[in-house]
Symmetry: C2
Subunit: 375 residues, 2 copies
């Protein structure tokens, strides 16, 4: 606890954008930050050293996946998740809730928690707020998340209200369950679906409980971007300015820019890594879908303005060749480029906020995108 903190360095005069630093027991994270997702103890296709070269300061681990494979206690016996995966910078773990709720008919929600069947072998498990916290602490994460229900979209107001209330009760149990001797920071998660008043209610309730930071959950679940931004605007101003704010599972480059403009400090999303493996590459001018025949003989790099390792050494034609032949190197190079883009987008935002020119940065972001590629 004592090692965790947040320092607000700059606030943009024309938006809610914030430039800050999160202090953790494993070092400082410059915000706003994008956190690559390392589901099973690896950011797919990336060496830890390469992640660092590309500027990753914190990565995610997925509690649900690591709980099932290889098991959090095995990871602990091997020295914890950091040692297990050779990553000495901060790790944030989710609560497992999102994955469990994604199981659909394979899970059942009660006041106690969620009973679910493993997607791997069908074995039955009960995930409770207490177990989620214990698993995350056992893994050795530096920032852990309260266990909540990720509300499907669309949902009725009644469903959202009762689910948000349940998540509130679970949040309290998470706070009580945490080990006093564990140095991890615990974040609460604001729910409330697409209802601004329920978001507000949730944000207030969580602050009464008191957390080290606050996240917005249940976004990027199928709603329009405008609804997402509305929910950010409804909830973020209610959260304490001197603590970090995290929007979970978000999002597109545009979502990140708009989230920063609304005061978000932390983002995570599988988009840059998953899209990379599917041959969809992010650039300042929009997406490049590398399998397209137009790239078959294209000697240009993915993005002629990009200075990443991939763009310095490889043509679109080569990357398309690798992708068409399912070469491992395609996933490696595409992931590296996409993370360079996402991490660079955030680094640029940090510099812009510090220099008082975030509005220009945001305008430039839209100006450079070609119309057909706009999200």
């Amino acid at each position: 606890m004592s090692q965790f903190g947040f320092t607000l360095l700059h606030t943009d005069p024309h938006s809610q954008a914030r430039r800050g630093q999160i202090q953790t027991r494993r070092g400082t994270i410059e915000t706003p930050v994008f956190m690559p997702v390392g589901t099973l103890g690896t950011v797919k296709g990336m060496l830890p050293e390469t992640l660092k070269e590309e500027g990753a300061e914190i990565i995610l681990g997925n509690t649900y996946h690591l709980f099932l494979r290889p098991g959090h206690e095995l990871v602990a016996r091997l020295g914890g998740l950091h040692q297990f995966m050779n990553w000495d910078r901060p790790i944030l773990t989710d609560s497992g809730g999102f994955q469990v709720f994604s199981l659909g008919k394979l899970r059942k929600i009660t006041e106690e928690g969620v009973r679910f069947q493993s997607h791997i072998d069908g074995s039955s498990h009960m995930l409770t707020p207490e177990l989620s916290i214990a698993v995350q602490e056992t893994l050795g994460a530096d920032i852990i998340m309260a266990f909540d229900e990720c509300i499907p979209y669309p949902s009725t107001r009644d469903y959202v209200a009762s689910s948000t209330a349940l998540s509130g009760r679970w949040a309290r149990r998470c706070k009580e369950a945490r080990r006093s001797d564990d140095g991890a920071a615990l974040f609460g998660i604001v729910q409330g679906g697409m209802y601004a008043d329920l978001r507000k209610q949730s944000a207030e309730e969580l602050q009464e409980i008191g957390f080290d930071g606050y996240a917005l959950g249940g976004l990027s679940v199928g709603e329009e971007a405008a609804a997402m931004y509305d929910m950010m605007e409804a909830a973020l101003p209610l959260l304490p300015a001197d603590q970090p704010r995290y929007v979970m599972g978000v999002g597109t480059p545009e979502n990140l820019i708009e989230g920063v403009a609304r005061g978000v400090d932390m983002f995570d999303c599988v988009m840059p890594t998953r899209n990379a493996r599917n041959g969809v590459l992010f650039t300042n001018f929009g997406k490049v879908v590398i399998k397209q025949a137009r790239y078959a003989e294209d000697p240009l790099p993915i993005d002629p303005d990009c200075d990443c390792y991939v763009c310095r050494h490889y043509s679109r034609a080569y990357l398309r060749h690798l992708y068409q032949n399912n070469e491992i190197l395609a996933a490696m190079l595409h992931t590296r480029h996409n993370l360079h883009y996402y991490l660079g987008l955030m680094a640029g935002a940090r510099d812009a906020i510090a220099a008082g020119r975030f509005t220009e940065y945001r305008q430039e972001f839209y100006r450079r995108r070609q119309p057909e590629s706009a999200a």
Copy 2:
């Protein structure tokens, strides 16, 4: 031509082992050398820079595969294979013969060449000695191979004799077909199956034609190791001492040590890279099959005596976890370790020959292997 050469630095007094250097237009190769296989313009799962770090001085490209995908002319328009794949050290290409003959019923041999159907789309192609050389030159390889028939094992003496004669006529056509202005070295390939006298005949015929180096083909095709070594002993002493000798598609670590002892300078094999992707790891004490349950909680590296990046940072338990979950990083790390082992085995052999202690090196190799792991 003028840039290609071979310098014999040391000869082991107690065996035929040779320490030498091959000069190419793209730099010097220390021999004996192991050449990692980069079938489709990538050594699967390895960055070119990582290959260099692990000591690779030359890699292979497969003419058959590159001819079909993405096509040699496309590669040439993009600056040649080196630029295409970001590799500035020497490349050796095979002739395409091995892959074409592996197609079985999809190919038909005539005096002119081989008509075959693409394994990808069934399209019909004719590969001739002339086309093989043109494709290899077009790719920009530094060492190119004569087009020959890789004789199946077992085969009758009559079949081997007539096939070897055909390969001899094709070898002559390859020599005539090569462009005088191309700087690539051309190697002939000794055939003769498992018949020592036919090997001898082939070796003599090829020398009459005259090549920059000589390879032994048609080994490691299912024969006993003893038969392979017999063929090396039959053919290698007949080849010119001042030119490099290459045994194609070989082999296990034991095959490499025994090949070196018999005077082989160059090896290539998919074994370290393909086995890596299948979770089979090479060590000084034998193979580690990483999926085995015994490694589930094993905190040791693959090989406690290995100083490679993988063994310095990752446990068997972590690698097993990655492998069991089909993580890309498993292929990356396993390939890196296995190539480190193969390249290190050859570096050790070079040092040992230079120091006049190759016999001890060979004994030590066998002494360290555990009985159950012996090949």
